[in-house]
Amino acid sequence: MSPETLAPVRPPAAGTAVTAAPDVVGAPRRRPRSRSATVLAVLSALTAAAVAAFLVLDAQGAWSFVLPFRGTKVATMILVGYAIAVSTVLFQTVTNNRILTPSVMGFDALYVLIQTTLVFGLGSARVAAIDPRLRYLVEVAVMVVLAGALYRWLFGGARRSLHLLVLVGIVFGVLFRSVAGLMQRLIDPNEFAVLQDTMLASFNAVDRSLLALSFVLVLAASVVAWRISHTFDVLALGRETAVNLGVDHDRIVRVVLVVVAVLVSVATALVGPVTFFGLLVANLAHVLVRTHRHRVVLPAAVLLGVLCLVGGQVVLERVLGLNSSISVVVEFLGGIAFLVLLLRGAAR
């Protein structure tokens, strides 16, 4: 799978559907459009270069081995970058701010907890007997339900302050991780080994059947998102305005949350939780394109996500010669970015 195969499902392809959004119509759209076109073109070129560099740089041995081997890794990274970028941008649109992301709200810790609970409840023998793809689907389904419930509880009803939500989300993440850690210690060591295999999937050891299934899930989620993509720009204006402009806000938000939950599950199942990656990518995209239109922001975020993962891995592995995981670097940079955002008052 290459970036090109993903292109048709990207929301920008839905360009024609967006014309209904109020801020697209009007005079001052010439300059931002040319600017965003340039940004997108440069990002695409850089991403393609990074993918190519990852595939061919320092290759030793037969190409028939190297290309499929690295191709699987690149495909995983593209899928994960795509899933995290889209889920974060959509989540920020729905919650109406730039500092909340699914990972900050503890969604990926929730997914790890679901995986652990499954092994804990059924025992590793029975879990191993289930088709991994079926288990994956069950986990994703449970995730969609639970993430929806969590969101409803936190965002529905009484309005809470943003800082409270962020703090609650972070502490929920700690709670989910602690409970998962507790269960992991309660099950016996043999079962834990099975669990660790399923949980700590890194870019280097990805199950091919899961990869194919993940691709199908991401595709399905993207199609759903595409069909409602014309409402995204209006959703970003806030609930009252959106309802006023004729968008069925509650229904659309529910759909978006399902999409987000599926994408987060896929990303977490493939590589494990990465807290600040989405935050970094979504905010960089906003800074670069300087517009709120999703047909520009979404592809920019996706390209940045893939570029960060693939390019970062190339720089770390081939240029600097480090075998560290890219996620540690992302956590470091993302944490600093989060602090800066917080201190500059972006959390308003």
């Binding site: 809470r160 703090l167 609650v168 309660l186 480090l322 470091f332 944490g335 602090l339 201190l343």
Partner: protein
């Protein structure tokens, strides 16, 4: 019941927990076996393992809770404690640095380096806080948690490169199962520090009112804040070096105490000491009983209970928090 009686009841409760803690474990030690035919063996287990463990739990629990209380006084924020201010993560980084650069250094030396790092991390946290306009009380713990995240990312990066991830896990998960006679005595330092904190309690209350009030009341603000930071950093360093991180303890216990007896620090310190010790004792006992004959590290149990309680405190009264 008046205040003193209630405190006495709480102390009795903790003593009862401590008594139970002496007789729970893999090796079968009961009051009867201490007098029975195999008493030498039973006394040996009791004195080498059980008593040090129980004492270590009480010392660590009490001093971490008091450290959290001091931080909350100085920053004037209810949601601050060593693990939400970058202190714990900085101490961990310090231990990593000393382990890599000077592996032969004795435990006291490691503690010293960890303390210097903890002090620097906490000072950085306070500096950042001073630089930002605070719109909401919740920004403070958020900044602290993020700073901690950044510092621990640095630690993880180097630990991963140097194959020290496993040692790192032993410092970051509070675990009392390794406590034996001769391996926990450093914790008595934190006992001394807790006594100092009690003596200086009123000063911290005053310092929490800001530099102007403190100065006009005739206290050197800078000196009081420095004293508080040194106590917090030393307690954190000692606890992380000897048993590992016990998360959220300094946050949950003082908040529960302020619900019970109000915000008077001098009056609150005994309660914080008693409840801190009792909370960790209970969590440790739970960790020992739940999965016998294996043990669950205390830090994990405290993490579950502590974060649940933290959530409860956050969501309990939105009006007061927001």
């Amino acid at each position: 019941m008046n205040r003193t009686t209630r405190l006495a009841v709480a102390v009795l409760g903790v003593l009862a927990l401590a008594f139970v803690s002496l007789f729970v474990g893999v090796s079968d030690v009961t009051p009867a076996s201490l007098l029975g035919p195999d008493r030498a063996e039973a006394w040996n287990v009791l004195l080498v393992s059980r008593v040090p463990r129980t004492v270590a739990i009480i010392l660590a629990g009490a001093s971490m809770a008091v450290a959290g209380m001091i931080m909350q006084m100085l920053v004037r924020n209810r949601f601050v404690e060593p693990s939400t201010a970058g202190t714990v993560e900085s101490a961990t980084l310090g231990i990593l640095v000393v382990t890599v650069l000077a592996p032969g250094v004795p435990l006291v030396g490691k503690m010293g380096v960890a303390m210097v790092f903890a002090l620097a991390g906490t000072a950085l946290f306070l500096r950042i806080l001073r630089a930002v306009p605070l719109r909401s009380v919740l920004v403070v713990p958020l900044v602290g948690l993020m700073l901690g995240g950044v510092i621990s990312a640095v630690t993880t990066f180097f630990a991963y490169r140097l194959d020290l991830m496993q040692s790192l896990a032993s410092w970051t998960t509070g675990d009392f199962s390794g406590v034996l006679r001769g391996r926990y005595e450093l914790l008595w330092i934190s006992f001394v520090l807790t006594v100092v904190a009690y003596v200086a309690a009123d000063r911290f209350t005053v310092a929490g009112m800001g530099p102007d009030v403190t100065t006009s009341l005739g206290l050197n603000h800078r000196r009081v804040v420095t004293l508080g930071l040194v106590i917090v950093s030393m307690v954190t360093a000692v606890v992380v070096v000897t048993v590992g991180i016990v998360p959220f303890l300094g946050l949950v216990v003082p908040n529960v105490v302020s619900l019970l007896v109000g915000d008077h620090m001098r009056r609150g310190v005994p309660w914080v000491v008693v409840l801190g010790a009792g909370f960790v004792l209970a969590c440790d006992l739970l960790g020992r009983v739940v999965n016998q004959p294996y043990e669950i590290p205390t830090g994990v149990v405290v993490g579950v209970v502590g974060s649940a309680l933290f959530l409860f405190l956050l969501l309990r009264r939105p009006a007061r928090v927001a």
